[in-house]
Subunit: 231 residues, 2 copies
């Protein structure tokens, strides 16, 4: 994880929306708006059983879990519109990540789904791994939230703490900044740290890409690569 | 924008609630609480067609846009109670900014609108300009959120990243702190920065005032002057 000079770290964060084991949950915004449940249409087969008329994305009919049918409705860290590709057993096997495939016909004039996402707050508890695969060696957890903070829905203001497992999660680095999904790399500021990172300063570059092996989860995974440069 | 010593910056942030091109959206709190829709009365003519029973401030009857009728219900960065002055075509032309004019008669005993705003989370994507007018030269964007964080509704806890356009938004400064609307000036701490502001430390003073030329937007604009002192 640490670079040769001890001041550079790299790790991968796995953000999973929907599926049977989501690590991120949208708690405000369009997903919680009952009035829109009848107005936002989805391309088949993703449109069935949307739970948005229950206020928050809980589906009691599915043991309280967010199910695959929700995924296209959520805004994640990927941000790229694309076609979701599913296997025959309805798992995501590749394709687009981030914003959903939608029928736009019934949206209010001038409104896009991305615009409607502006303001959506998503809380996460994501695994950090050494390599980019979800099954790679676990190095810690990242907890925090991101808020869709541009009017076109392509930016997320992020506040998070990355906690490292090695010494019982005492070592942590906290970050704040804006993740812009329209550029290949965004920068977050280091707010501070604890444990061996106490008084940390510096920044991180973050890059998102679709999960290399989506089959490991039935949710919609976005992998975020962090490269941290400490002063 | 930069001061003579290169360590002081000033810029102006334009926060627009409501209207056809809002830059800020309240996503939690009273505006999203349907249970209060029947309880919060408004002085005419501002009380018509409040969308609060739709969960988030979307008004499908107005092409999905937040309209002027919403504005008096939102809590912004201005914070001053005052009379909203409207022209004959229902545009704001001056007067109060911030908390609305209300009939208090039907509020629960001991409750004021300001108190009810406590906890409202507002996400913003505001333009930063060199001068105080909305049409002044654009220097960047500020994205983040503010939360009404005093029981009397006069303070906003703010977390934001100011991103500067010059080098493709790589240069940024992130701030955290409490904006107290009852004093003329508040201070925010610099959490850090990126690009040429990496490892930034210091603080900013912020002052709010009503838009100098409200006619440029049909929303309710608050101008926030930032003066940043970097160590």
């Amino acid at each position: 994880m640490a670079g040769p000079d001890g001041h550079t770290l790299t790790f991968f964060m796995h953000d999973i929306l929907g599926g049977s084991n989501p690590t991120a949950r949208a708690v405000t915004g369009i997903v919680t708006n009952p009035a829109l449940s009848a107005q936002v249409p989805f391309a088949k087969p993703n449109g069935a059983n949307l739970p948005i008329n229950t206020g928050i994305p809980q589906n009691p009919g599915n043991s309280g879990l967010i199910n695959n049918n929700n995924v296209p409705f959520l805004t994640g860290l990927g941000g790229t519109t694309g076609n979701l590709v599913r296997s025959n057993d309805d798992k995501f096997i590749g394709g687009g990540y981030g914003f959903p495939v939608l029928n736009g016909g019934q949206l209010p004039s001038g409104m896009t789904v991305q615009k409607m996402m502006f303001g959506t707050l998503t809380v996460f508890d994501d695994e950090l791994t050494e390599g980019h695969e979800l099954g790679s060696r676990l190095v810690g957890k990242a907890q925090g939230f991101y808020v869709a903070s541009s009017e076109d829905g392509t930016s997320q203001t992020m506040a998070l703490t990355a906690m490292f497992e090695a010494d019982g999660y005492v070592d942590s680095i906290s970050f704040f900044g804006v993740h812009r999904t329209v550029v290949s790399e965004s920068h977050l500021a280091v707010m501070g740290g604890t444990g061996k990172y106490v008084n940390a300063r510096g920044f991180a570059t973050i890059k998102t890409f679709p999960a290399p092996n989506q089959a490991l989860t039935d949710g919609l995974e976005t992998v975020v690569q962090f490269t941290v440069y400490l002063a």
